[in-house]
Symmetry: C2
Subunit: 496 residues, 2 copies
């Protein structure tokens, strides 16, 4: 049975000590920024059905024409300048509070899958129980810094009530940061009201305690649901993460350069809107992008072109001075948690983290282009999250690291295993994954020749068995439960 | 059936256009170099049973004491300075000649496995037929630039005759560069003699046409077999690749810094010996290193500590001015071509290539810590080699890349799939892997729900079916075959 580290052992938050990789030259980055300006000036962005947004942009000096808004070069970037380069996202347990931006890295589970799968029960629609399971698993892992948002869609709950159950799960089953509902401005407001019950109204007004996933309806469209939710969160001084969603060749031109430029243009406009609503409101420069097989139309993930776009966007975000939610993560189009899934996922994760992404959605569990959260892949991905976070710490080159005493103790041809230097450090020298098996073939074969995904099945079940509820005072819990009951009772079920 | 690119479609050789990642600071690198100097001065290196080497070092001013040689700080680095920073390794087909060093990347198959496996026949001892198969597969792939050396051990051939059959296979079944025999100075000489038959004596004296894998018997030992083979290749002006072999904590102290320093020290001494034998002789700064589970003793691959060591060694090699054979590659301890195998392999490959490694052994097929060459993993790894070589090309930021005409043709909310820009570029926009499946779950399930390794099984078989012998003139072929027959007849079989 693979061991797993409990939340108690968690290193709560890890900064990056190694440099970010700079894929593109200054000149190439400037060209992409010029193209973003060209898009914003010549084509513009539409805010459909949101007159408030139009008015805010008009007052700020943009050219508003019906629902379309265009900007002089540099104007949107200027409007983004009040967004903080670094800020805290407060958790219910202060030990889990994270900082977004700077040298910090925040990993999160997958988002939005309507299906789940595990090796025993197969692929099926996700339920609220699955949602709660993944919140528990993220809480239990030292490598997830954040509980995510719609970790899976709880399809057994009416659409208009899901946000209430999801918020309740995030607030009671975990003490890590989370995302609130965004599927309508009213649901956004419910989420903020529940956060106020848990954290206190005064605290929430002054601190970001939750994050909203604002998806751009790419190319170049914000619908009123998203821009409305954005305004609700910004008014409440909560974090808005603005993520264009571009498949190269479909929602934008097919090159990495074009996708990077359009992502920058679209995201900057949303961040600018948040700043117009409340200057200084915490914002994240998000992206969700990938490639397609342009012959078959199949969406592909972890491709070299998508990975390069991810790396370029990390650089562009640093230049904008806003924390980056990377379009990478451990993503794949594979239908099984197999070798392809890990080739795609690991490559995308290296692109994400080495280039300096700050916040990584979809860092665990993602399968089938995001349609499925796989229990087995979730724990396999956790191993790689731990490995990458270890790598981002770099290594020491102080005298103790070189172990000169070990050479003086041994000599050419001799073994270092029993030197005092090895004995001093062997327990903490290396990252230890949970699922990996490096034992001999014969032992492995005797134990059933289990693949990594088969070994992973035991691991996530054990994690759920070992899970322990975090504490919450009874008054707060009751207030949250009452809020959910009352709001549910006030609305008929809606299933669309 | 997955398609595969034929050798005719090969991009024969690919340079790197993106910058190398610099993990360590100047200060950290200098500390590691100081530690290498400390090892060479205070501990020294032993050349067991090789008086010629001792005499060469003594004449060069080193301190020789019995079989041990010690050096003043900076002396070995100075002796390495005649090694070329960049040189060509000539192939029988000049289109396959590669350059080692500079901005060039040369990928090669696994080396040295005594076993092979495939999903149908399972795990078994490797034979000469397997050896020939892997030479054919490397020849057939556009992503392998080099045929490797002992791709697998042909265990059905007597030990003292294997090098003859391996050389014959490399010279006749492929036209890519290769490695010669090193298991004794006589076998090294046989290899060089065969190369002279194929390339002409005059050509071989003036050009490197083969490479020798000189393993250091780490810690700090060269045995006479290896140093003897090194001298034979260096005298013939052929390329010597000197690779220390260090598992952190066993053959050296357990930290990445210590492994990097010891690798540098050991490799520099071998490169220096080659330069003393023949100044200007082409050499490669090699490494083979990894971590262990220090509780169980199991060897681990693709760990974050090993990957950081790989990245540091790429930097140290650039500073030495000698091409780097990376200690990374697509390596894993996994016993199956599963998710773990690909997590390990892909991570190690990113560390290798992003840090600027020039030559990558074990880029395809490696399983079980190198004990096995897997046919299925071989072709899965090829896909990732192609993806990484694509990524190393970077991307364009010229006006055509941005597709401004496509924006003028469409508008916010519209689809770019049918724009003229997409139609101009869709055929070549994205790297296309052979094994990956990005199709819908339903189709995948109907087609048998095959994992990546199961799909790979069809691919390598098709590649072998489609393989076509490269041309060789009859006289050369006969001369090589006669040489092999005569040498075999002159020796009784030895099986140890």
């Amino acid at each position: 049975m693979p061991r797993h580290k409990s939340v108690a052992e968690a290193r709560p938050f890890m900064g990056r000590k190694v440099p970010a990789y700079e894929l593109l030259s200054e000149k190439a980055l400037a060209r992409i920024e010029e193209q973003a300006d060209w898009i914003l000036q010549r084509i513009g962005v539409e805010f459909r059905g949101d007159q408030v947004a139009m008015d805010l942009f008009g007052e700020a000096g943009a050219e508003v024409n019906g629902e379309r808004v265009c900007f002089e070069p540099g104007h949107v970037r200027e409007l983004c300048s009040t967004a903080p380069a670094e800020f805290q996202l407060h958790a219910r347990d202060p030990r889990h509070t994270v900082t977004l931006g700077g040298k910090n890295v925040v990993l999160m589970p997958g988002y939005g899958a309507p299906f789940v799968s595990d090796l025993e029960q197969g692929r099926r629609y996700a339920t609220l129980e699955d949602f709660r399971n993944f919140v528990k698993l993220s809480y239990s892992s030292p490598w997830m810094h954040h509980s995510g948002g719609t970790v899976v869609e709880p399809t057994d709950v009416p659409v208009n009530k899901r946000h209430l159950d999801m918020m309740l799960a995030h607030l009671t089953l975990s003490t890590k940061p989370f995302m609130g509902g965004v599927t309508s401005p009213e649901r956004a407001q419910d989420s903020i009201n529940m956060a106020r019950l848990a954290f206190g109204q005064h605290f929430v007004d002054r601190h970001a305690v939750m994050q909203a996933n604002i998806n751009v309806n790419s190319p170049l469209i914000y619908d009123h649901t998203m821009s409305g939710a954005l305004r609700v969160y910004a008014e409440a001084n909560q974090c808005v993460c603005v993520s264009p969603a571009i498949f190269a060749g479909a929602m934008g031109p097919l090159s990495p350069a074009a996708v990077a430029a359009q992502t920058l243009a679209e995201a900057m406009v949303g961040i600018a809107l948040a700043q117009l609503v409340r200057p200084g409101c915490p914002a994240v420069f998000g992206s969700f992008h990938s490639t397609m097989n342009l012959r078959s139309g199949a969406l592909t993930f972890g491709s070299p072109e998508a990975n390069m776009t991810t790396m370029a966007l990390s650089q562009l975000g640093r230049r904008l001075g806003v924390p980056v939610r990377s379009g990478g993560g451990q993503i794949t189009a594979s239908n099984a948690p197999d070798g392809q899934a890990m080739q795609d996922s690991v490559g995308a994760m290296w692109a994400t983290l080495l280039s300096g992404g700050h916040q990584v959605w979809h860092a665990a569990g993602w399968l089938e282009g995001g349609l499925v959260m796989s229990y087995e892949k979730f724990v396999m991905d956790l191993d790689h999250c731990g490995a990458m976070l270890t790598l981002l710490q770099g290594f020491d080159t102080d005298p103790e690291a070189f172990g000169q005493d070990a050479y003086l103790e041994t000599g050419p041809g001799e073994n270092f295993l029993s030197t005092r230097h090895t004995l001093r450090h062997y327990e903490s020298a290396n990252f230890e994954p949970q699922i990996s098996d490096a034992g001999p073939y014969e032992t492995w074969a005797e134990q059933g020749a289990l693949r990594a995904d088969q070994r992973a099945a035991a691991c996530w079940r054990q994690m759920l068995t070992d899970y322990q509820h975090p504490k919450m005072n009874t008054g707060t819990r009751t207030a949250l439960e009452d809020f959910v009951s009352e709001r549910k009772a006030a609305m008929p079920d809606e299933w669309y």
